[in-house]
């Protein structure tokens, strides 16, 4: 017997030991059978046996029962002001006509919303940050999203993945405008924190929350490039989740796992295996049909097979110091650049 091994239909046909009234009313009996059905104790009851009047009564109760499932008895709906706080529609509620509104009065109004509104002041800054955090949480399952104040930017949302760190802050407006003042602040923010890779200015008055992501190099007054091309372009302005995804594609690409060739018959030589794996992985990655900067970045690793092979052998055969690994990676990056 488990918790649900009890049949209401049984109760309908016998007198209980605790002198409970026997169910004789056909509507009550049908409802008891329906509760059995809902609890998985019996099949769906057949209501055809009931008179039309009784069937209507049973249907009304069942309809109400099903429509109530999942609703909180003591729950209350947040006010419209609280829901629109921090969104591009917030300003539409600020007109005097709306502020004067006779909400919660009369039978048509929702008194619950009015009561909650009166009891809980709206924290606009918190609402803006929560909205940004909510949009970021759905963008990529790998990242960790934390809402919290930043010492220079104020209310902000930090996104981390491994050692990648991005701070998003609500900049207001319908498109992210980086003024001279903002540029100075962002330079300080990125300069003060060596672990911070990007800062995202979110135009949170726009419905898509258009975002400009910027790194320290984007904001530096001058930059030297191998091609001497001084026209550095900022990343494109994108809707918030897309801006994060685009950045993750560049900074944290997903590498497919290397599958070891189990049919190999030759004696296992580490250098040979490392070389084979390197050639296969680089051939696959450099042939990807990426465009623009990303395409150039991937293709730039062509010809680095020997350097990668040496690195793998070094890591597999010894315990190299961090500095030695960093040097090897630096060399590869320089060659690619």
């Amino acid at each position: 017997m488990n918790d649900r091994d009890f049949s209401g239909a049984e109760a309908a046909g016998r007198i209980d030991a605790h002198a409970e009234p026997t169910i004789t009313d056909p509507v009550d009996a049908a409802l008891a059978s329906y509760l059995d059905f809902l609890e998985g104790l019996a099949g769906r009851p057949d209501l055809d046996q009931l008179s039309a009047d009784d069937r209507r009564r049973v249907s009304a109760v069942i309809g109400s029962l099903l429509a109530g499932r999942g609703i909180e008895l003591d729950g209350s709906t947040p006010s419209v002001e609280a829901l629109l706080a921090g969104t591009e529609l917030e300003s539409l509620l600020e007109s005097p006509d709306l502020a004067r509104g006779d909400r919660g009065q009369g039978s048509g109004g929702d008194r619950e919303a009015a009561q909650v509104d009166a009891a809980r002041p709206i924290d606009r800054e918190r609402a803006r940050v929560e909205r940004i955090a909510h949009a970021l949480r759905g963008a990529d399952s790998r990242v960790r999203v934390t809402a919290g104040p930043h010492k220079l930017l104020g209310p902000a949302v930090t996104v981390t993945y491994l050692d990648l760190q991005i701070v998003f802050f609500p900049a207001g407006g319908h498109s992210p405008v980086i003024s001279r003042h903002t540029r100075g602040v962002l330079s300080r923010v990125l300069g003060d924190d060596a672990g911070l890779d990007y800062v995202g200015a979110v135009a949170d008055d726009s419905s898509e929350m258009l975002t400009q992501l910027l790194s320290a190099s984007d904001l530096s007054p001058a930059a030297a490039t191998p091609s001497d091309d001084m026209q550095l372009r900022w990343p494109p302005v994108l809707a918030l989740p897309l801006a994060l995804r685009a950045m993750l594609e560049l900074a944290a690409p997903v590498w497919e796992p290397f599958v070891f060739d189990t049919s190999r018959l030759e004696p296992l030589q580490l250098a040979d295996i490392a070389s084979s794996a390197t050639h296969r992985v680089l051939a696959r990655e450099t042939s990807r049909a990426y465009r623009s900067d990303k395409g150039r970045a991937y293709k730039s690793f062509a010809g680095s097979e020997t350097a990668f092979t040496d690195l793998i052998v070094m890591l597999a055969t010894s315990r190299p110091a961090d500095a030695a690994v960093a040097d090897a990676l630096d060399r590869i990056a320089r060659d690619a650049a």
Binding site: S64, G68, G70, E72, L73, G101, H134, S141
Partner: protein, 229 residues
């Protein structure tokens, strides 16, 4: 159930023309609280008892879904409206809630996954969560205006249930809204499961009769009866 959450073009009303819902706050408040119930029913209607918490994996909450739904509704171009705002609000809230459940169940291990199986091979879909009971609870969604009226009825009933004496209040609340079993409730209020069932059906029938005698009690609205302005 593969429709996108957004059902209309995004865009604010033209300058100088207030959105009809923002100009009628009583109606907007009523629609907002009704959307809240639609979202609760969709998100939590399938959680039958077992003391499950009303949280979605990934950190989203019913309030997040409500906010997105309200924004969708207010961004909808009034010129393109073909149903009532009430009916549209039910459609938007329901689809937003379904999307939220899909998002929160993406990549979760199914309950019957064998120990040791890799994580990434099993995914619990929203459809798998909608068991027979939830399917029954979802009936009526094909007529959004009727679903709106039923939510309004639940709001009226909720007020009446709050005023019930104990143990009727606990019994009706736990069975009606939380979907807990009569055995479980009986243990809590120290009554037999049979008695719990009897109290529930008797009380709910009385409440419905009382509510229906009130001229303000919303009736199921036939399709098309609500105005679209």
């Amino acid at each position: 159930m593969n429709e996108p959450a957004s059902v209309g073009p995004a865009g604010l009303p033209p300058v100088g023309q207030p959105h009809p819902l923002l100009a009628d706050r009583k109606r907007l408040d009523r629609i907002t609280s009704n959307m809240d119930l639609t979202i609760q029913r969709t998100l939590y209607g399938h959680l039958l008892g077992d003391g499950q918490e009303r949280l979605l994996h990934g950190g989203a909450s019913a309030r997040d879904v409500l906010q997105e739904s309200l924004l969708d509704l207010l961004r909808y171009d009034p010129a393109r409206l073909t149903t009532s705002w009430e009916g549209l609000s039910v459609i938007i809230a329901r689809r937003r809630a379904i999307d939220a459940v899909r998002e929160s169940t993406r990549g979760r291990r199914a309950a019957d996954t064998a120990a040791g199986d890799p994580d990434q091979v099993t995914v619990v879909s929203f459809d798998a969560l909608l068991d027979e009971h939830a399917g029954a609870a979802c009936s009526g969604w094909d007529d959004p205006e009727q679903a709106f009226a039923r939510n309004e009825q639940q709001k009226a009933l909720r007020r009446l249930i709050r005023e019930l004496p104990e143990p009727s209040r606990t019994i009706v609340s736990a069975l009606h809204f939380e979907g807990r079993s009569r055995v479980e409730i009986g243990r809590q209020v120290n009554l037999t499961p049979q008695r719990v069932g009897q109290i529930y059906t008797k009380t709910l029938r009385e409440l419905l009769e009382k509510a229906q005698s009130d001229p303000d009690f919303p009736t199921d609205t036939p399709r098309g009866e609500m105005t679209s302005s």
